[in-house]
């Protein structure tokens, strides 16, 4: 597994797109710190960007790498390597290189700004953790889409739809249902609905830590009331891990059944 991971990883970090992605975060980090002139404000702005952007880059990169590495995959399949190893190795290669771009790209500007001495260190760390979770989750979902669709165009379509649904449409539907079922107690429904969307979950996770009640919104408030800050954070991290593990399990399952 390590060898496959290594090759995918090197293959990716040599590609132009990884640098573009890294550079984007570098510029973003410096620009935000320069404009806001405050670490805590920058972190809130960053949260809004990371929460939408990491899933998008994760899905698109994931599905793109899956299709473009088809030849590499077929070459590996004829070697004495377990199938699961091939696909999980490649997946980890993609997810790790994207995560690295995120952490290094934002880490450098914040380090220059003296994040280590700042009281915001934990908040920044949590932001990086949820960004990494989102990357791992959405690359895994994209890999599942790739494995199920031999047609590239279809695969890309589904991947973009998935991102759009999770990042935009889900919230819309959620809000509409809150308005429509206004007369009923919605606490449990809200909790459950949040659990089913990793993007919402990460947003709440970060906001709970930042303790900005104005930004918590209805879902966040329910979350905080139900769990309290610490249990709330712990349980959302737990659910994010479940969100990571289940798609990975499905990658290995569909990989062992697929014909090449």
């Amino acid at each position: 597994m390590i060898k496959v991971l290594q090759y995918s990883f090197y293959d990716l970090i040599r590609s132009r797109w990884s640098y573009v992605y890294l550079l984007f975060y570098l510029v973003l980090g410096f620009a935000l710190l320069f404009l806001n002139n405050s670490v805590s404000k920058s972190i809130i702005t960053l949260m809004n960007i990371i929460i939408v952007l990491t899933p998008m880059i994760g899905t698109i990169f994931g599905v793109m790498y899956f299709y473009s590495s088809r030849e590499f995959t077929e070459l590996l399949l004829a070697q004495p390597i377990k199938r699961t190893t091939i696909f999980i190795g490649q997946y980890l290669g993609v997810a790790l290189s994207l995560t690295l771009s995120l952490v290094i790209g934002l880490g450098i500007p914040f380090m220059f700004y003296g994040i280590w001495q700042s009281s915001e260190m934990m908040n920044f760390a949590l932001l990086m953790i949820s960004g990494s979770f989102l990357t791992f989750i959405f690359v895994a979902l994209a890999y599942n889409i790739g494995l199920k669709n031999d047609n590239k165009i279809k695969g890309f379509g589904y991947a973009i739809l998935l991102w759009l649904f999770m990042a935009v449409i889900y919230d819309g539907l959620f809000l509409i249902s809150l308005v429509v079922f206004d007369d009923y107690p919605l606490d449990k429904f809200t909790l459950l609905a949040t659990m089913f969307n990793p993007i919402d979950l990460s947003r709440i996770l970060i906001l709970l830590k930042l303790d900005v009640s104005a930004l918590l919104g209805y879902t966040g408030a329910v979350f905080q009331k139900f769990f309290g800050t610490n249990t709330g954070m712990f349980s959302s991290l737990l659910v994010l891990s479940v969100w990571t593990i289940i798609p990975i399990y499905f990658i290995s399952r569909s990989a062992s059944k697929k014909d090449f």
């Binding site: 004495p80 199938r83 014909d259 090449f260």
Partner: protein
């Protein structure tokens, strides 16, 4: 060595292999022939575990291969279309496969034989079809495994490389290996193959010596013998 019983495979509604049974117990060169779409590549890929059969059993060296991967260390495979990751160089690709297999390889000898020296640092995406096929051949022949599977090995090769390829195959045969070849070039089959396995509509129509096939179809040369079989079965 290779034992296949009651193998079935369909892709969607298309039945590609239907109740294929084949046993290759001795060493030598076996040509797998058949018209386009008769299931040659599917059969080969089933042996390699790249295609998962719907039913049936495949044994390699006495071991049932379903769900296994370790047995592939005994097989060297030349895929039909030489497709490699475009942004790797030739030398990187070769060392990658060597590293993955962790076995001794005589790649230098083969690079010399196919005159690939000037291309070693070139990216695979920039190579011509024939050169890619030579790289493909190096990858397939550089390990010393008891089973060798070649899917259309002659595609895109110039006459000199073709002679080298024939010599290589003969050398491997002399070393006591089992070699499966699919091809559409009948001269190549007549010159090389010990036995023919003829696939027709997903089943094995004939297995035996070249002469027996000629006798069966009442023709003197292999090309016409095969054409006769095909037109009789239309």
């Amino acid at each position: 060595m290779i034992e296949i019983t009651n193998l079935y495979k369909k892709f969607g509604k298309v039945k590609v292999l239907e109740n294929v049974g084949l046993s290759i117990l001795e060493n030598g060169i076996f040509a797998i022939l058949g018209p386009n779409g008769s299931g040659k590549t599917t059969l080969i890929k089933s042996i390699l575990g790249m295609v998962i059969p719907d039913a049936g059993e495949i044994k390699i060296n006495g071991q049932i291969i379903k769900g296994k991967w370790d047995y592939r260390k005994d097989i060297d495979y030349l895929p039909q279309i030489a497709q490699f990751p475009d942004n790797l160089s030739v030398v990187e690709l070769i060392s990658m496969i060597k590293n993955l297999r962790g076995k001794h390889a005589n790649d230098l000898e083969l690079i010399e034989l196919f005159k690939l020296g000037p291309f070693l640092d070139k990216k695979l995406g920039n190579l011509s079809g024939g050169t890619k096929q030579k790289v493909n051949l190096v990858l397939a022949f550089m390990f010393d495994s008891p089973i060798l599977i070649l899917d259309e090995p002659t595609t895109g090769l110039d006459p000199i490389s073709l002679i080298h390829l024939k010599d290589l195959i003969k050398k491997e045969k002399a070393a006591g290996k089992t070699i499966l070849i699919t091809t559409h070039i009948m001269d190549f089959v007549e010159a090389m193959a010990d036995e023919i396995v003829f696939l027709l509509e997903g089943d094995i129509y004939f297995k035996g010596k070249v002469d027996e096939l000629k006798k069966k179809s009442d023709r003197n040369d292999l090309e016409h013998a095969i054409a006769t079989i095909l037109s009789e079965n239309e």
